[in-house]
Amino acid sequence: MLKTRIIPCLDVKDGRTVKGVNFVGLRDAGDPVALAKAYDAQGADELCFLDITASHEGRGTMLDVVRRTAEQCFMPLTVGGGVRSAGDLVQLLRAGADKVAINSAAVANPAVIAECAAKAGSQAVVVAIDARKAGASWEIFTHGGRKPTGIDAIEFAKEAQKRGAGEILLTSMDKDGTKSGFDIPLLKAVTSAVSIPVVASGGAGSAADLAPAILEGGANAVLAASIFHFGEVSLSEARKALADAGAPVRPFE
């Protein structure tokens, strides 16, 4: 049986993690490679790096972070942030990413999804959707959630699948940072509209918040940042909470 993936997500700027990370027993050095190793040792099922670097030089630094992480962590690595073209995707894959998340560029020009899938296969192409409730539906925002697009999130998810996306990383902007649990209605709406895997993001505040995203929301994976970084929830607690609720997890000793 396929297991629920638990995915810690690190925000990286100019080669350093920006949100503080504070594991028990590991001082925050801000080095994403050291943090990736710590998550690897705890049995993360996958790791996500979100590059929030604005500069061009920063992109080279990010490639180096990906390369150094991939040298030491033998787990799947998704990298997102500022990916504009199939060329950007190929650079990240060559550096050691397994999947690349495309956000603003995919919304501005959905053809880029097909270009990326043709270049590297659907399994390498994640379309990241940031959605906020608008009346009875959800609207997509881009540019780190600053720019409304008027595009319906559910329709766009379907289009992303049609154009060759292999996975959707779905962030609820209403829930992000609230620690009040994932947006189950949004997850349900998207997972019932597409047949590719969906990663739930935004709102995890405790270990108990994880299972509903899978069991009610229909997601295949849960992504979280702060609850893991600040040691509020360990990966083993997350695995136990999911398993106790009836969501299968990978055994890890």
Partner: protein, 214 residues
């Protein structure tokens, strides 16, 4: 030092496979020289061969055939000299008679079967992406010591349907059984990615590096 040829034909997981093989090599008693190569001559002389692969079947098949003399060199090393061979993901699928992703593409035909879209049960997403349990179907040196209930990382929409079930080394369950690993004489292949499967994956790669097919 014995040499392992890791075939470079533009596959996306080449460097991940290289890093993991180097790490696995440190678990072995005998060091292995890991040579990333697109040189057919080097492959035909090598002591072990790994063929990686991700993405589209037809693209990978075309990419492999585009390397001058590579298919002949592989056949010399693997089919004539009998050196241990490992195919990963599409690198395993290429051994089949044919692939059916967007039309029919001829494979190498080393292991009878074809590669078709996986038929997951209702409500199961495709690609089959994530960690799934390995059901070992035969005692095989490459599959030893993986621990209780080993899990490995899969990411694929197509799977290999074998003509001869004797070649099935391991399977996994995703609504229906999926071919997870194949074995035939000195040939081994995995649908999953050992280079991304943490400890279990490194153990499997180390097993491959030490495997002496009889």
């Amino acid at each position: 030092m014995p040499t392992l040829a890791l075939i470079d034909y533009g596959s996306g997981n080449l460097h991940s496979a290289e890093r993991a093989l180097r790490a696995a090599s440190t678990l072995c008693e005998t060091p292995m020289d890991i040579l990333v190569t697109e040189d057919a001559e080097a492959v035909s002389r090598s002591d072990r061969v790994v063929l990686p692969g991700v993405g589209h079947y037809a693209d990978c098949a075309a990419g492999l055939r585009a390397v001058d003399g590579m298919v002949d060199a592989l056949e010399t090393a693997v089919l004539q000299r009998g050196v241990p061979f490992l195919g990963i993901c599409v690198g395993m699928q290429l051994l089949a008679d044919r692939g059916l992703e967007d039309g029919e593409t001829a494979g190498l035909g080393w292991v009878g079967g074809e590669v078709d879209r996986i038929k997951a049960g209702p409500g199961l997403a495709i690609p089959h992406m994530g960690w799934n349990a390995l059901q070992i179907q035969q005692d095989h040196p490459v599959l030893t010591g993986l621990g209780d209930d080993p899990h490995v990382y899969f990411t694929h929409s197509y799977g290999m349907v074998l003509s001869n079930s004797d070649n099935l080394a391991a399977s996994t369950e995703y609504g229906a059984p999926i071919t997870a690993a194949i074995a035939k004489a000195n040939i081994f292949g995995t649908q999953f990615h050992p280079e991304k499967s943490q400890r279990v994956g490194l153990r499997l790669l180390a097993n491959f590096l030490e495997w002496e097919p009889v």
